[in-house]
Amino acid sequence: MISTTAHNGVDAPRPARAGPASDLVLSGVSKSYGSSVAVRHLDLSIEAGHLVALLGPSGCGKTTTLRIVAGFETPDTGEVRIGGVDVIDLPPHRRSLGMVFQNYSLFPHRTVAENIGFGLRMAGVGRAERDARIQSMLDLIKLEGRGDTYPSQLSGGQQQRVALARSLVVNPKVLLLDEPLGALDRSLRESMQFEIRAMQQRLGITTLLVTHDQEEALSMADRVAVMNAGRILQVGAPSEIYDRPQTRFVAEFLGTSNILEGRASSDGRALVVPAAAGGEIVVPLGEPRTPGEALTISVRPERIALGTERQPSVVNIEGRVTGAIFRGTYAAYQVEAPGLGRELFVYRQADGPLGSVAFRLGESVVLSWTPQDVVVVASE
């Protein structure tokens, strides 16, 4: 084998340890529990070395999908390929994966070093090499000298890092993270987001991250897959998912969205939203649509400017401030547009003195945005 490759002048395969990352492909994966369908005909692929976040509300099938990849659940249909190899028939312990659970699942009866070295021991790595690799992992997670402590003596963040080290030390083909930061407090979560992302990129490890936290998904992932009711609705780069949601669900699940429903005007260049007392609100669209078509649009709160004057050549809607909240870096307003029967949300960068809001309750304001800020979404 080696001589043949040498003849062909092809490089011999590099050792698995520093080997190229594997890609992960799920195709047509379905899983039901009795009559309830947890995952419906799901397709998802992760390029080698990338981090994909599976984002969705509770009970949408994220964990089930992850457990299918891990081998703890067998899908009813479909296949899972890791590095091009179908792994459906492989038991979990032969899939060469890493996995971190929300509660870390460190072995309570073993020290930190023993936890980290567990996978190496299972793989039959000799004591000397094992100790060296445990040591370098401890350095990496900034827990030098804590190898002999037990997990219960560590803080949540430290346990989290040990769990990460334990799964990375064996150089898994794919790393699976199930709500890895769910148990941490907010500030720690943010720094761990950076830390995990940095480590993942440095090691170039293919990663599937499961989360219901949109911020976590947007900030850590190369690509985000938004999931609902067992289906993946949209896959794309974080900015694409955020700025160009294809469905109303995606628009509303990621951040806040102002959703308006109506029909395209007779020239197809605007959306006509029926308002109270037979009135209507006309919202120009970025791209023309079929006249009379039923449409749903989304406008992000931070795309809306708030003022007291109508702006030229943009969409202008008049309204009245019904709510104002200061949120540190920005202020959030609720504005009622007469006849619409509901409020629109507007985020405005905080200017002026801290703690202040620029508009008061009851004040008459004008909401303005450009037609390019309008995203037409599927209504379902």
């Binding site: 891990a70 703890f72 038991p91 979990p92 312990h93 032969r94 899939r95 060469s96 994966l97 890493g98 996995m99 659970f101 509660n103 699942s105 460190l106 072995f107 309570p108 009866h109 567990f118 996978g119 299972m122 793989a123 334990r166 799964s167 064996v170």
Partner: protein
């Protein structure tokens, strides 16, 4: 100003409550005092007092702890209990594992089947064994008359094996329940973590499940050992020629009528039981930490 007294208020109210709880345990405490503590103290006294002279003596304990006859009896007692404990563990662990991991919605039924025998009197159960294994009992009838496998009926009762079997039968549920409660508390994700890290099922059991269930094994083993050590009815009825401490105590009281010796023996039995309880408490305390 009055608000500042607030933090003290709950404490003031707690005192009458504590007083009341003393009254609540009073009946039980009195009962235990008269029917447990005092007789026990009386028993202890008797074991240390020479009947003829009324003087303090350690002679009985010296005899018990040096005389090969008594030592053999104590050894046999402990050995029997240890054997019963090991067999109960070997039988009980798989049952507990099945109960927690595989039985699913049947687990309630399995637990019922386990506990049901405990609800019948120990004498009934022991007689059951006798009926099964007597000279003309079910087993011999099957082997000799029905299947014709044997010419002569086997002598099954009054054998050590049947005694051990009967004790195991009585005690295995305690072992199962002790282990079950600990197994139930083991997070499945710990086992899954081990699997993902390359451990097959057997290895996962050996590296994670078993070490994490040691507490249950310890509790169950001590419980079974302690009860087997003091078991009497089963040994009297099924016997097997075994001489254990409880049997000896009975004999000393009723046949030999050496009350002092019987008292000393029961004190030794008590010490073994207390040692077991102390061990168990240590295990539980470690688990709590």
């Amino acid at each position: 100003m009055t608000e500042f007294t607030l933090p003290i208020a709950p404490r003031r109210r707690a005192r009458p409550l504590a007083m009341r709880s003393v009254y609540l345990i009073a009946p039980a405490a009195l009962f235990l005092l008269f029917f447990f503590v005092l007789p026990l103290a009386d028993n202890a006294m008797r074991s240390f007092v020479d009947e003829a002279t009324g003087a303090f003596t350690l002679a009985r304990y010296a005899a018990l702890l040096t005389d090969p006859f008594y030592l053999r009896i104590m050894g046999e007692t402990v050995l029997l209990s240890a054997g019963v404990t090991v067999i109960s563990l070997i039988i009980g662990y798989p049952v507990a594992y099945f109960l927690v991991r595989k039985a699913g919605r049947w687990s309630a039924l399995v637990i019922f089947l386990l506990i049901a025998p405990l609800l019948t009197s120990i004498i009934m159960r022991t007689f059951g064994w006798q009926v099964l294994f007597a000279r003309k009992g079910l087993v011999n009838n099957l082997l000799v008359n029905q299947l014709g496998l044997l010419e002569q009926p086997l002598r099954l009762t009054n054998s050590v094996e049947i005694t051990i079997a009967a004790l195991v039968h009585v005690l295995v549920p305690l072992m199962v329940l002790s282990i079950t409660s600990v197994l139930q508390g083991i997070d499945r994700r710990l086992e899954e973590s081990a699997q993902i890290l390359g451990a097959n099922r057997l290895r996962t059991f050996w590296e994670v499940t078993l070490p994490l269930s040691l507490d249950g094994i310890g509790t169950g083993a001590i419980l079974v050992f302690m009860i087997a050590n003091g078991s009497f009815v089963t040994l009297v009825l099924l016997g097997g020629g075994l001489q254990t401490l409880p049997l000896m105590i009975y004999q000393q009281f009723n046949t030999t009528r050496d009350f002092g010796m019987a008292s000393a023996m029961s004190m030794i039995l008590l010490v073994i039981a207390i040692a077991c309880l102390w061990l168990q408490l240590r295990i539980v305390r470690r688990r709590g930490a």
